[in-house]
Symmetry: C2
Subunit: 405 residues, 2 copies
Amino acid sequence: MEFIEGGVCAANGFTANAVLAGIKKSRTKSDLALIESEVPCSAAAVFTKNLVKAEPVKLSMKHVANGKAQAVVANAGNANACTGDQGYEAALRTARAAAAHLGLDETDVLVCSTGVIGQQINVGVIESAMESLCEGLSKDGNARAREAIMTTDTKHKEAAVRFEIGGKTVTIGTMAKGSGMIHIDMGTMLGFVTTDCAITPRMLKAALLESAERTYNCVSVDGDTSTNDTLIALANGLAGNRMISSKGRDYRAFVAALDAVNAEMARNIAGDGEGATHLIECAVTGAKSDAEARKLAKAVISSSLVKAAFFGKDANWGRILCAMGYSGGVFSQAGTSVSFDSGKGAVEVFHNGVPLDFDEPKAKEILGETEVKIRVALSDGTGTGTAWGCDLTYDYVKINGDYRT
Amino acid sequence: MEFIEGGVCAANGFTANAVLAGIKKSRTKSDLALIESEVPCSAAAVFTKNLVKAEPVKLSMKHVANGKAQAVVANAGNANACTGDQGYEAALRTARAAAAHLGLDETDVLVCSTGVIGQQINVGVIESAMESLCEGLSKDGNARAREAIMTTDTKHKEAAVRFEIGGKTVTIGTMAKGSGMIHIDMGTMLGFVTTDCAITPRMLKAALLESAERTYNCVSVDGDTSTNDTLIALANGLAGNRMISSKGRDYRAFVAALDAVNAEMARNIAGDGEGATHLIECAVTGAKSDAEARKLAKAVISSSLVKAAFFGKDANWGRILCAMGYSGGVFSQAGTSVSFDSGKGAVEVFHNGVPLDFDEPKAKEILGETEVKIRVALSDGTGTGTAWGCDLTYDYVKINGDYRT
């Protein structure tokens, strides 16, 4: 498996584009993105578990229910959430406009929105922009699409991998956006996966759910699960591999590659958390199970106090133990060790249940690096799990103290 | 029922004191508090649900198990958590020293600690200070004790009420500390309730649990449940009322008064949240049940995004709906209305599921007040519930970015 360029256009048969439709008056960069496959796709999606679902989420849930889709429209600048029937109609009109220009059935178009909650979206500008959006679809359009879905993101997020299944070269590409209102279940705003793998809708859905559990669902920026979270996968089969229709070796190869691009997005979202200056990765080993390890790791990277301590480069490991303690996960404190690792150096602060008299200046230096790993070694089993988060900074407060205006 | 002065010394037979023992070298104000009843008490306590329990929590759980106690020692400056056998021994020596000077059985002394996690506590200075701590016990000692338990608290927190049970005057007094590492279950660090009510240990425990559910368990500052949370109640019976031994009218009168002082502490803790500039109260009505109402209210005041919006005086009500949506609570969005109320003025922003075109300058003015109530009116039943939180500010990040040094 090798990482390659191309994002959502890396796989055979996928093109993308983006334009500035003017959904939010103050926005000067593109705000409307489109991804299309030249042939029909197996489609699967994971949506927010928030009871308050945005209108495009409700629409896309219906459209993806048959396991088929061919295009995705995504806009920034307005979440189209808490907008009632008028909002749903806007999402439907968006799908219809794209379908008309692309010659597709409207149920084969999925729609995603991100931005402010509770304001009606100006669907007129989306309809007006649809012709140029569709006409501009191209193989290098990933570079435009990845920008158009950004809100408070400071960096675009995309990845692609190439690998083999049964002697055939298969490609998976992805792009994502997400910076705030990010929490476990789902830890994203929007994620798009495109692949030329031949895989049934049922297996695609299984792979997506399984992979999300280990990747997107292990990210937290601020503990808020959005109303719009959507992770969509389209698989058009153009790689020519034998159709994956069961959980055999081919399925496992596909999931491993999917994990790689999804984990990359998860890391990128955490590292680009609103106001973040540090990516915090918590890796738990020796837990009773993988699920238990993830539960503990998620609690650590979700803790406001741990996050604030990282901002202050303060090796306050007691807060890590405290977060593990209230996580709901079970572990033996006497068999717990904790260390900080920046890749350039590491320092152990707690060993088998006993506080260590560690080198404070060295710890401060390690915590000063942009990416810091918290290693938690337990003695309860062989379960492992990783979660990604970021520090809590003045800028997070600033960005979210006045987001609407 | 009337509110009176006197805090933990308001009830008959209780005295208190505090001294500077020097537990944390840099501290210049008192750090060791003591409350004593002149006669044995019915005792009950609620402890942190954190799996990682501080050593004094483990000790006090044992000592209170028989439903009897007569004194409480509490220190600030060191949490004595994650300190293993050495820490447990320190908590035990603290109880022993107090028992020796007061002429009590060591199992009738409860111990609480608050401060930094993961450092061994200097129990020698506590033992040295114990004589003067015990000798200085007095009826006005509440004023000293309430200061000694403060860490990052900016204000002391105490209350007392006087009411009647069966023609006898009964008093309940309390003091509490808590500012950070505050979350639902328990939303406090330390709380102490003293009363001259005659009540059995079993009924005292029932009353304390019931009241905590509606008060301390509805507070969040930062989503972190501490390792040291303890709420202790001592009832010495000196009011001379007929012993409360079942859940009849007298019990209900007692619980109503207990709710009053506990809710006052809950409000004070939230309003004094680390770095807070606003107390945020979320009052939900029309829910399916009281428990459902509290679940929704707690999610709203726990949301980092809601908290940051209040800091910015931004009427971003979409985040309130979003938090309710991921709370796990069930409600009909179409029957939901939301308004902001500062007591001086109110503005509705969402009515029966539809966004309102509200007066933004007026909303900003309301959100500028120190205490703001979010009123959520549902149409699902008659359940009501309130939760208390605070805004997320630059100062929260600053205080917690470098707490240990």
